[in-house]
Symmetry: C2
Subunit: 174 residues, 2 copies
């Protein structure tokens, strides 16, 4: 296997080829993603997709054993890495060289509904705030334009910002 | 530190104490969660909350270096572990003993918007399907009731199911 790393560690030719494939046949852009969760004990779980399992737990203050990030942190991680990947992709496509990129995310959850203390209300994040710090050769205007495009087209930030159909069912195992 | 593990590996007394604290002072239920993302190169990032960094990347088919799950998988992991934690919490509160619990999640993303090939449309998940398989001493009716409560009160599944305010800004670094 030969890997050619170009601007920002990405092979723009390979990306343009991929975009060409999707353009020629949009059914190839229909992707399905999967994950399995295996409960260990208490609030400790292993989450696994195509790679090694990742331990997810709750902090001790929430009665967990604190052996990994919790689901609320994992969600922020998904949003932030989605933006970072979007910046890398679109910076490369626009000829912008990234030198460094760090993102900080925070969000608020009122635990009253989860704790069973309130019937009504939003159990989830009421809002998420994100700051991206990017060192690059882009002008502030180019960076702002990149940012607006990336935020608008981010699969995971869009999933959080929009209502999404979640279907869940349980099967008893004998 | 003494840790007493009761049903399902959880200390119900500790949980009831915590719920009592939130009930007495609901401002203590207002939680803020944080995450930092550090871009490495290409589509490879490290996501970190309070624990060791977790590598997030894209598969080679999407021009990544495939060194970890991608953000779409991480989101499913967050949803699934949130449900698993909800089942563990509420099963314990209801006196249900869990023997085993595994969840499978899948969801669909149309990459046309992310790839810059379509201006309009949803860049994110159009839907997520979840199957929880639970081995316990609950009757099918008790399990279904547990499931409905957990799904309705899940912070992360609610975050995905509802529209959430996402504010993001970029700061150029010199």
């Amino acid at each position: 296997m030969t890997t050619q790393l170009h601007t920002n560690g990405l092979d723009l030719n390979q990306i343009q080829e991929l975009v060409g494939v999707l353009q020629a046949d949009p059914t190839k852009a229909q992707t399905v993603w999967r994950s399995r969760i295996h409960w260990k004990q208490g609030f400790q779980n292993e989450f696994q997709s195509r790679h090694a399992p990742i331990t997810v737990d709750e902090p001790q203050a929430l009665s967990g054993s604190d052996t990994g990030p919790n689901p609320a942190e994992l969600l922020l991680g998904a949003m932030g890495t989605c933006l970072s990947i979007g910046y890398a992709l679109n910076a490369t496509a626009r000829g912008i060289t990234l030198e460094a990129m760090d993102l900080e995310l925070e969000g608020d959850i009122d635990l009253m509904v989860f704790a069973g203390l309130r019937e009504e209300g939003n159990p989830g994040y009421s809002g998420v705030r994100i700051t991206a710090k990017i060192k690059s050769d882009a002008t502030p205007e180019q960076l702002q334009s990149l940012h607006e495009h990336v935020l608008r087209t981010s699969p995971i930030c869009s999933t959080v910002a929009r209502p999404v159909a979640v279907e869940a069912r349980v099967e008893p195992l004998a």
